[in-house]
């Protein structure tokens, strides 16, 4: 495997090769018997996706654009095959969900700059997205102002990824109130641990569980919001903004306070001891309760109640309001992670080969994905396939799965491009979505007030920042070194292998030495530029 990684590296390096002549898109530049332009396309599909050539909505897009698409669908390990495909130049005309920003630099010349093809006349839908949601335009542009990959906007997803759930039934069984502060949380967790809230006579309760750390949606590090730190889009690698300054909470005094608090909870046996090593599947399993249908977890972050706890236990849990810090007399303005742009926008949904012989036709086909009705079908499935119904002007309903044994989420991923597709769901489009999405939105009501506090000074969406190639290269190496230290330390503190107070100063210094200040400098520069626009 090491060899494999190295060969992947080598491969990617070879991208710089001039041998881009071989391969290429065969069959493009001609028309089929019906006069439709022939194009080739590749889609990196979700593993659940069914045979996309049977999707009627997709065929309709092609018919409307007057093209005939020959599809290639990749179901697994695209990251490993991609470098060979790109380096050998063996790519089709259109690539859906197949590229990242770095590819346009590494394989410079392989992809077509789309800016000349996008206009209100030729691509009205894409242009509408750029006009109405200027963020998507910022997102799509390279620092030089080119556009290689088109973004998506799916508007209907909530403002935050994680909901902090608490088992209301356990609270009721023990006659407790829902905690509102850190110290109350500790009391509740202690009661959960000692007083057998699930009533089975065994101390099998896990008061507090988590998964991942920096940048993870279900990580306890998200509690830094209670100390006034505003995270945006999961706060990847610990970066956030405050008063217009980019900072990293991993070296912030408030993170130190949080770590001391969590280490105390851990030493009292209130945090799942296996959480550090559990993978996502194990994390999910624990919340689904034991074989007798008894809940095992007291407090945990999750996406949505039925997803997190299963249909049987979902009713026991409610969302917990943001917790305020009250441990040392100091008070902070409580915040909650704001993920709207991260959940609703992403770029590189589709891009075009520079060797495509019918660029106009290809662009026209792309634009189909961004139409009002088209976008809904990209996300939830086709109208003629029976998965979505039109319920009026600009209003749609997502139908129940045609196979009742399949849940709505799985159905969606099977018969549409789902979140991986290019789309522009208008803000004014009404969509009656499946029950789990309704739950997800309802549960997040309690975070509304905290989320309303976000200002331009502390909104730091990392995906909009533009860096030069040199800056990116420099940051990559420094960040790996920083990550190595901060990723190691939180675990040692949490489980009590090292004391927070006595090691803090040396830790901060080693993180600074590893290059954090230089990273912050580069990031600040990019943030200032972003804010100036």
């Amino acid at each position: 495997m090491r060899k494999k990684v190295l060969s992947i590296l080598l491969t990617a390096v070879m991208a710089a090769s001039t041998f881009t002549g071989c391969g290429g898109s065969s069959g493009s530049g001609t028309t089929d018997a019906n006069g439709n332009t022939k194009l080739t396309a590749l889609f990196v599909a979700h593993p659940l996706t069914a045979d996309i050539t049977t999707f009627k909505w997709l065929q309709e897009f092609a018919d409307d654009a007057g093209v005939n698409i020959e599809w290639e669908v990749i179901y697994s390990d695209w990251d490993q095959t991609k470098p060979t495909r790109f380096a050998s130049g063996d790519i089709p005309d259109l690539l859906f969900n197949a590229t990242v920003d770095a590819d346009y630099i590494t394989y410079n010349g392989l992809f077509e700059d789309l800016t000349p093809y996008i206009s209100a006349d030729t691509t009205p839908n894409i242009q509408a997205m750029f006009d109405e949601e200027p963020d998507t335009y910022v997102l799509a542009q390279t620092p030089e102002g080119k556009i290689f990959g088109l973004p998506k906007f799916q508007g209907k997803w909530p403002d935050t990824n994680g909901v902090l759930f608490i088992n209301q039934k356990w609270l009721d069984n023990l006659g407790l109130e829902a905690p509102t502060t850190f110290s109350e949380l500790e009391k509740v967790l202690t009661a959960f641990k000692n007083n057998d809230p699930n009533g089975n006579g065994i101390a099998d309760e896990i008061p507090l569980d988590f998964n991942g750390w920096f940048g993870a949606a279900y990580s306890l590090s998200n509690l830094v919001g209670g100390l006034g730190i505003q995270l945006t889009n999961w706060g990847t690698d610990g970066y956030f903004a405050e008063d217009g300054k980019v900072k990293n909470y991993a070296v912030d005094e408030r993170y130190k306070k949080l770590m001391k608090y969590l280490a105390k909870l851990y030493s009292e046996g209130l945090i799942n001891e296996n959480a550090i090593t559990n993978d996502y599947s194990m994390f999910q399993s624990l919340s689904r309760g034991n074989e007798n249908g008894e809940a095992l977890v007291g407090v945990v972050y999750g996406w949505e109640e039925t997803d997190k706890f299963g249909n049987n236990l979902a009713d026991e849990y409610v969302a917990l309001s943001p917790l305020a810090y009250d441990l040392d007399g100091e008070t902070y303005d409580t915040r909650w992670t704001y993920d709207y742009s991260g959940l609703n926008m992403s770029t590189n949904r589709v891009c075009m080969s520079s060797k495509c012989k019918n660029k106009e036709a290809a662009v026209k086909f792309m634009d189909q994905f961004y139409s009002k009705e088209g976008s809904v079908q990209v996300l939830f499935g086709g109208i003629s396939d029976g998965n979505v119904s039109s319920t009026g002007d600009n209003s749609y309903k997502v139908n129940d799965p045609q196979d009742p044994s399949v849940d709505a989420g799985t159905w969606k991923w099977t018969y549409s491009f789902a979140d991986n597709g290019p789309m522009y769901i208008r803000r004014d489009t009404t969509i009656d979505m499946s029950g789990d999405m309704d739950n997800a939105i309802r549960e997040r009501e309690v975070y509304k007030d905290a989320l309303a506090k976000v200002t331009d000074d502390d909104y730091y969406p990392q995906m909009f920042m533009k860096y030069t190639e040199d800056e990116q290269n420099e940051m990559a190496v420094l960040q790996a070194n920083v990550t190595n230290i901060i990723d190691n330390q939180w675990g040692l503190w949490l489980v009590g292998d090292e004391d927070v107070d006595s090691t803090w100063d040396a830790y901060v210094k080693s993180v600074e030495d590893a290059g954090l200040s230089r990273i912050l400098e580069i990031r600040q520069n990019a943030f200032d530029k972003y804010r100036a626009n």
């Binding site: 390096v13 071989c22 979700h46 593993p47 490993q80 050998s88 559990n278 039925t306 997190k308 789902a418």
Partner: protein, 299 residues
């Protein structure tokens, strides 16, 4: 074992020795067998309970979702057929290329052997990487063909070294000298003396190569993009990912609804992909019996 009846068991050191052998072998079997047994019961138990550590000695909440998912997928039979083709044809080719080369390298009177050995060993360490290799394959018009998956690793240097070491150390040089006196050529000596006397190493290498072809996933991933050529491991990987999709990633992006059966597939895939190749072992094993070779020498 032929020598078993010739030992005197009344000697106490031998008794202790025999007891130690039994104890050690029993311990080894227990240590190795339990986790394997665990895979089997995990493949038919509720995945939530497996993940919580509730499944220890008996399967709980038995369900066969994992196997159903795998066996209901029509692609799996194409995968099996392709894999069997690659294993059989590939291994035959491997042996045909490896054994003569190993013999040549084992000849102490072959002066160039150290240089040639270096020629092989160097490639164990230095490689040009995937893209140059892909381009070479591509220029031979072998991408996405069954041929490339059969011929791509025609000889493995590691196996070549093992075969060479075996031939050099186990076949008495007297035999060669006698054969030369009889006017035997290298070819004749190789086919009539070396090959019959190398049954043990031939079986080991057959096993090594066959298992390599059986497990080969990466080459098929890189050099093939046609479904009809996909070997079993690729198909199983796709089925596995399809089911892991329920259980991985971030709720905001995709669901975790099928949790209670999700990980079953992981364990079931292991069993479905391993069982057939395990059946090869007994055929190989019988050539390890002591005396097979020496008998041949004497006869």
């Amino acid at each position: 074992m032929q020598k078993s009846d010739t030992y005197n068991f009344s000697k106490w050191p031998d008794r202790i020795f025999a007891a130690a052998v039994i104890i050690i072998s029993v311990l080894v079997v227990i240590i190795i067998a339990y986790p394997i047994y665990f895979v089997v019961i995990a493949s038919i138990s509720n995945s939530n309970l497996v993940n919580q550590g509730a499944v220890t000695f008996w399967p709980k909440d038995i369900r066969f979702y994992g196997y159903e998912q795998i066996l209901h997928d029509s692609r799996i039979w194409t995968g099996y057929a392709n894999t069997i083709l690659y294993v059989v044809a590939g291994t035959l080719l491997n042996m045909a290329v490896t054994m003569p080369a190993a013999y040549a390298l084992s000849r102490k009177d072959f002066k160039a052997r150290n240089i040639v050995m270096f020629y092989f060993v160097f490639t164990m360490f230095f490689s040009g990487g995937l893209v140059p290799t892909y381009m070479t394959v591509s220029s031979l018009h072998l991408v996405s063909t069954k041929t490339i998956l059969i011929i791509f690793v025609a000889v493995n240097t590691y196996n070549l070294i093992i075969a060479r070491t075996f031939i050099a150390n186990s076949i008495p040089n007297d035999l060669y000298e006698a054969a030369i006196l009889d006017g035997c050529s290298h070819f004749k000596y190789f086919f009539s003396v070396v090959m019959p006397l190398s049954k043990a190493v031939i079986s080991v290498l057959t096993l090594y190569y066959a298992v390599f072809h059986w497990n080969d996933y990466f080459n098929a991933l890189i050099f093939n993009s046609k479904d009809e050529n996909a070997p079993l491991q690729i198909v199983l990987r796709q089925i596995l990912l399809l089911n892991q999709a329920f259980a991985s990633g971030n709720g905001g992006v995709q669901g975790g609804y099928g949790q209670s059966s999700a990980d079953q597939v992981k364990y079931a895939v292991l069993i479905v992909s391993t069982l057939p190749i395990l059946c090869v072992y007994p055929f190989v094993q019988k050539h390890f019996e002591k005396g097979v070779m020496i008998g041949a020498v004497k006869g």
